[in-house]
Amino acid sequence: AQSVAQPEDQVNVAEGNPLTVKCTYSVSGNPYLFWYVQYPNRGLQFLLKYITGDNLVKGSYGFEAEFNKSQTSFHLKKPSALVSDSALYFCAVRERVDSNYQLIWGAGTKLIIKP
């Protein structure tokens, strides 16, 4: 079975500094990987995905993620953090279930950007 791990419950970053939110995965075959963000009192919003192609994927709100096959990682990054980036971030990997696919979710990482 596929799995995804977010090793940090919380990440604290000062505004203007670069941020990284970590995600590692375990899959058989080529992974389909996703990042979602959840702002307070909202549903999850899609940020970016990796299916194939360039290892560096660019997404919404200036975020990007780097796919690293040898390290089985898909860390989310942003060069300069904003206070408004404070939210809950989820990594997910696609898993085949019978003849369909579902997303398997990490536990989430709370990102706090301090002014």
Binding site: Y32, G43, L44, F46, R94, Q102, L103
Partner: protein
């Protein structure tokens, strides 16, 4: 509609009462998912509908929980004899029949409070 719509957005109910939560997925999305999220926590899978197939109910926490999807569109999650531990945000998501290649689109959730 343009997005996934959930109603009500907030529901306060007395312990022991039944509640119904509604999800209206994106038109054309044949897959529909229900998740439960405790405050600031990760996603707990509840149930998954795919087209006309039998739903995957493996995540339902007890027989007080049930869900149906009428006409392959709108879904209703019913919780009978609510308990205080049922208090959470219930999130609905939908995706295309191709599965999770394109990720899920989430609604804003229903915040259920059992008093």
């Amino acid at each position: 509609g343009a997005g996934v719509s959930q109603s009500p957005s907030n529901k306060v109910t007395e312990k022991g009462k039944d509640v119904e939560l509604r999800c209206d997925p994106i038109s054309g999305h044949t897959a529909l998912y229900w998740y439960r999220q405790s405050l600031g926590q990760g996603l707990e899978f509840l149930i998954y509908f795919q087209g006309n197939s039998a739903p995957d109910k493996s995540g339902l926490p007890s027989d007080r929980f049930s869900a149906e999807r009428t006409g392959g569109s709108v879904s209703t999650l019913t919780i009978q004899r609510t308990q205080q531990e049922d208090s959470a945000v219930y999130l609905c998501a939908s995706s295309l029949a191709a599965g999770a290649n394109y990720g899920y689109t989430f609604g804003s959730g229903t915040r259920l409070t059992v008093v």
